[in-house]
Symmetry: C2
Subunit: 387 residues, 2 copies
């Protein structure tokens, strides 16, 4: 399989905008204000690591009809000019007195009638990437226009991936698959965990990641303590379970899955936990269908783990995936989001083995009309032992 071409054709971006405008019409919004890297990327195709600098806000306005308008720091003009966006308005940022406030407000006035509504993502899993004092000024300058919550507008559109997007996530998954296959080269008894994390990142880059936005994991005797700590210098020991998890990025899209390995040997509890996770993942993969709710799939996983005699971990057991490492919905008992054809999801069961010892397993899928299609290469059914 060859990698997909970089970027997207203009037609794909136009379809996205048109889908957003359809949702905006239903919600009676006259413009959508977007400020975060994934939202701006989704609409414009503007892809850069420069977001790492928190210094400057960036804005894209999607009007009720017609093309989006970018209101951005002048340092981004050249790169934005290479996208399909024609209306690009810039200011010299950071500006201590007016960091785009007047320019953004004026663009809002151009696009939104005085009695109109500005849609802004304000709900779960969103944030506003601009100074909140400046937001208050923009709202004031835009009055009598009002602001309403556009979380559902952006989420119902972004959560359904196009085939082109799915190919990009698949390409990111292939990178991680290839890097996971190389873990036996560097993870062995005596190797310090921080060195393993480093070697794994190198492998991800060498296998085709543009950059590695996320690597996490853990290692401990028969299981690990948590999955978000940075690596320490403790050497791997025989009997450890090592987990590596990655969000490698290729052309702006993430994979997000993990693999577990036993170092030297695996005890029965670890083997049983691994087997239960594998069965529960299979259960989710074979059961998931469009029309189920996120909470339903959570229930499938929990039930499968319990049927295997395992103790399910808390927290969410999977989530959306795409332009960011994690997207909505969340596989939790409370998330009633409908699972729909075209969603890309992680299936991520976790179990508690003993106090302070857990194990987590993760695969990436796309939900088709008929069920799950794997994007990651299915992990082996038995815990792999690295000699």
């Amino acid at each position: 399989m060859s990698d997909p071409e970089r970027g997207f054709p203009e037609a794909e971006h136009r379809r996205r905008v048109s889908a957003l405008q359809g949702e905006m019409a239903k919600a009676e919004m006259d413009a959508l204000l977007l400020t975060t890297p994934p939202d701006v990327h989704y609409v414009t195709g503007f892809l850069t690591r420069f977001w790492e600098s928190p210094a400057r806000p960036w804005f894209v306005l999607v009007p009720a009809s017609g093309d989006p308008v970018a209101v951005i720091p002048s340092i981004g003009f050249d790169l934005m000019s290479k996208t399909w966006i024609g209306d690009i308005r810039t200011w010299d940022a950071p500006h201590p007195d007016d960091d785009g406030v007047t320019l953004l407000s004026s663009a809002i006035s151009d696009l939104v009638p005085e009695r109109g509504w500005i849609g802004l993502p304000m709900g779960l899993e969103t944030h506003l990437r601009m100074p909140i004092a400046d937001y208050a000024r923009v709202a004031e300058l835009s009055a009598p226009r009002r602001v309403s919550d556009a979380t559902a507008v952006i989420q119902r559109v972004r959560e359904i991936k196009s085939e082109a997007e799915i190919e990009k996530i698949r390409a990111a998954c292939r990178v991680a698959d290839a890097a996971f296959a190389r873990v036996p080269e560097f993870a062995r008894t005596g190797a310090p965990l921080d060195g393993v994390f480093r070697d794994f990142q190198v492998a991800l880059l060498q296998e085709g990641a543009d950059w590695v936005s996320y690597v996490a994991g853990g290692a401990g005797s028969g299981g690990y303590g948590d999955v978000i700590s940075p690596a320490d210098a403790r050497p791997l020991q025989s009997g450890d379970v090592l987990m590596l998890d990655t969000g490698a990025v290729r052309d702006g899209y993430f994979c997000d899955f993990d693999r577990n390995f036993a170092i030297g040997k695996a005890d029965d509890a670890a083997r049983r936990a691994y087997a239960a996770l594998h069965v529960a993942t299979d259960a989710a993969i074979s059961t998931i269908r469009p029309g189920m709710r996120a909470a339903d799939l959570h229930r499938v996983i929990v039930d499968a783990l319990r049927a295997e005699g395992a103790t399910p971990g808390g927290g969410r057991l999977g989530h959306g995936l795409g332009l960011t490492l994690t997207e909505w919905p969340s596989l939790t008992p409370l998330d009633r989001t409908e699972l729909r054809e075209g969603m890309v999801l992680t299936i991520e069961p976790g179990v508690k083995i003993a106090p302070g010892r857990i194990m987590v397993h993760e695969e990436n899928i796309v939900l088709r009309n008929t069920g799950a299609e794997l994007l990651s290469y299915r992990a082996p059914a038995e815990l792999q032992v690295l000699e």
Copy 2:
């Protein structure tokens, strides 16, 4: 030189909190609400790449006196427990109906008197990392307590680095120095730019980066077009100027500097541009003193470039550095921030060589009582040609 130990002693965190509380007292704030990775890390020592997931908000409250309180998703409890923070309150996030809102509001009620003030960073270079609708609910639930802008509180404290912080930034700079020294191994005529970016990231990891949050650059005949575009597959050609810029991270602290290389040969315009940048950087390094304003240093750089017959680039010509790739202040004509002893800064002059061709040079320094101390290893005075 050996690397500094990981993390900070509790005493360092207590000094930071005490400095924040001193500024809070002057600003008459009864608690400080922090939500971003660098602010949370600064106060607590909580370091994780898990912030890459935008799903969950995280909160730290610094009271007017006494120890901070962490109000965080339960997935972070274990890691937060390893820090010096004793009061950790958790909820199962993401929660569709109440994603920490009640818990945070209740913590605010515990710490802030009814007629008191909650400080929140609201100004330039800040953002609120939580859903804005939830923020509105927190503000409502916390009434009659009021919110005021704590941008200056956090910035005046964070901008002065301790010796322990300076050592961490120095360690990150050493990583980048060593990786830049290896650029001749992989950057040559015919090498595609995206491969060079990839090899450079590998070198950064191999030389000791924990992770590579930022790599940018450019390449073009006699100069490059911009400095924020991702790399394309165009092979380097003889006469190209290649620039690589990095924010490599070690123990949570960034470096941020770049290096320029000529591929095969360099034309006179490129050599002159490079020389002017070098002279302007020297001018900034030798002139900077505590008590100057950011705008004053911008002026020094622009004047030095003009004296060399070069055309200064727009935008900022340097900035703060530390827990993020870029921090305030900004070396612009408008930034009146006082430069103070203990600030870590980038000196980043840029020139326009021709339409669509620029060159940018960058070094990292710490401002001492007597002037600049280099943290990066000073770039050579002449543009290095890679054969």
